[in-house]
Symmetry: C2
Subunit: 211 residues, 2 copies
Amino acid sequence: MATTKSSGTNTFRPFPAETPDTRATILRAAVSIIDSQGATALTVRSVAAAAGCSTTGVYTWFGGKNGLVEAIFLDGFRRFGATLDRAGRGAEALVRVDRLGAAYRRWALANPTHYAVMFGHAVPDYQPSAEARSEARATFDGLVTAVADSIRVGSIHGEPFEIANHLWAGIHGYVSLELAGMAFETTTAARKRTFDAGMRRLVTGCLGPAD
Amino acid sequence: MATTKSSGTNTFRPFPAETPDTRATILRAAVSIIDSQGATALTVRSVAAAAGCSTTGVYTWFGGKNGLVEAIFLDGFRRFGATLDRAGRGAEALVRVDRLGAAYRRWALANPTHYAVMFGHAVPDYQPSAEARSEARATFDGLVTAVADSIRVGSIHGEPFEIANHLWAGIHGYVSLELAGMAFETTTAARKRTFDAGMRRLVTGCLGPAD
DNA sequence: GTTATCGGTGTAACTTTGTTACATGGCGAC
DNA sequence: GTCGCCATGTAACAAAGTTACACCGATAAC
C-alpha cells in the first residue's frame, strides 16, 4: 500500500548515508538482477536474497512485485533521461539531434531489459500507473523541448513538439525492432549504419513544411 | 520436443475436417484467450480447459508453453501479413504506402496483445527461435518488396529495401509507443491525426536522395 | 486371430513464485 | 517503565509450468 516511506522513525539524520535505507538497497538489487539476468530472474525471493532481507521487505517498501517493477520503471526513466541530457549538451542544432539519437540507441542496447520494462511488457501483469506514465512523459518533455529548441535555430520548419515526437517515434522504432531481433542486418556495425542512415532520413523528413 | 505432428496415425483422411485436430483446437483456444483476456490469462491450464483437453495435450502438441507461444507468434505474423497484403492491393504508389501504414496501425490496435507477443516480450521467458524470427522476417519481406515496388514507380529515390525498412521502423515506432500508453495525445482521434502526419513526414524523408 | 508396440491422453504430483497471516523485536512517545 | 507503531522474518497458501506414470486405442507383425 504505502510505497514511499523514505522518512521513517529516524526523523533526525545528520548523516543520511549511515542509515541502511532498505528501500534503496532492494531497488538496487532488483535493477542489478534485471540488468544481469533478465526479467525472468526477477523474483521477489531472488531480490530479497540479493538485498539481504526477507520477502516481506519487498512488500513493506514496494507493496509487492508490481510496486517494485514500477520503481524500476521510474528509475530507468530517470537514468535514461539523465544520459540523454548529458548527450544533448553543447554542439549545434542538428548535431545535437544526431548525438541524442546515438545516445538513445546506445543506452537501450546496453540496458535491453530495463528498456523493455519501460517501453514493452517485459514483466507480465505490470502496467505502469498513470502517475508513472506521466513522470515518464515528463522525462521526455525535457528531451522533447531540448530537441525542439535545438531545432528551432536550424533550418527546420514546423511545430517543434510534433517534430520532436516524430523523431522519438522513429528512433524508438529502430531501437525496438533491433532489440526484438527483427533487424535485417546481421552485424552490429551494419545495424549501426542502418540506424545512422535512418536518423538522417528522419531529419530529412523534418526539413520541409509540415504539409 | 516434437512440435509438428499434423500427420498422426490417420494416414488416409478423405475428409480432413472430420479429424478433431487437437493441435489446431488448442492453438485456436490460446489465440482466443490471449486476444480476449491478455497474456497473463494465457496459462497452460486455461488453454487446456478452453480446448477441452488436459494440460498434457499442450505438451504433446507444442512441447510446452514456449512452443505454444511460438505458434501464436507465427500465427500472428501470418494473419498480420495477410491483412497487410489485402490492404496493399490496387491503388498507386504513395497511396498504397498510406494504406499499408493505416492497416498496420489498425491491426496492431485491434490485436494489442498479439502484437506485443510478436514484437515485444509480452510473455515472460519466451524468445522467438531463429526459425520463427526468420519466418517473421519473411512475412515482412513480402511487405517490404511490395512497398519497394510501389515506391519504385513513384517519385522516391534511394535503395528500395532501405526505404521500406525505414517506413517499417517509423510505423512500428508510432504504433509501439501508442500501445505502451506513451502517446502524448489523449483521444484516439488525435492519435490518429498524429500518426497520419507522421506517415507523411516519413514519406517526405524518402523523397530526396539517400544522403 | 492374437499379440506387441507406439503414440495421444488424463491424473496426480513436484517445483517455483507471488502473496499473506502471524509472531517478534526495536524504537520513540508519554 | 509501558505502550504503540512498524519493519522484519517464518511459514503457509494458491496459482502455474512441468513431469512421471498409467491407460487405452489403433496399427503392425506373426
